[in-house]
Symmetry: C2
Subunit: 100 residues, 2 copies
């Protein structure tokens, strides 16, 4: 089974996390993950972009450390890395999720 790379909390940088979150499509993904359960397939997100653009957005979030991605068969399941984010940047995720 292929696996995808995820930064450890101490490897996450504030630049990368803020850059990852500074996009309306990626904020939509993060909010949907925060509102629902984990392990949502990419296909479960209704995003106003093409599949390849959507794949790019998920990858940016994963490489910054914001979400986890794991293969299940041919699907990729996504989860919010709340614990890692709260450990590395306390209060940041809550402040962003509270913003409307």
């Amino acid at each position: 089974m292929r696996s995808l790379e995820h930064p450890e909390p101490e490897e996450m940088t504030l630049d990368a996390v803020l850059s990852a979150l500074a996009d309306p499509v990626r904020l939509t993904i993060v909010r949907q993950l925060a509102d629902g359960h984990d392990d949502q397939a990419c296909i479960a997100f209704e995003l106003p972009v093409s599949k390849s653009t959507s794949t790019h957005h998920f990858r940016v979030l994963r490489e910054a450390g914001v979400i986890s991605q794991h293969y299940r068969g041919t699907a990729i399941l996504n989860g919010l890395r709340s614990d890692a984010l709260n450990q590395r940047f306390p209060g940041l995720l809550d402040a962003i999720l509270a913003a409307r």
Copy 2:
């Protein structure tokens, strides 16, 4: 006296604020403003970029609502808009300033 435009708190968007903060030079400016007093001239910041690039970074921060900029003679004085940020996005600035 010329004056520069600043968004009202309700006009600020999370995208723009996060984009403005998602840059190491701009985070340096914000941290220096948070650590020191307000009304620091652009020339008081030791930034590893050219003057024109530095001017660009200050403008991005102002247009997002993160800093204020006001002319005093030919100098531009900068201040952190902590109150506006805390009103519009509670907890966000504190979480970002606490991150290292």
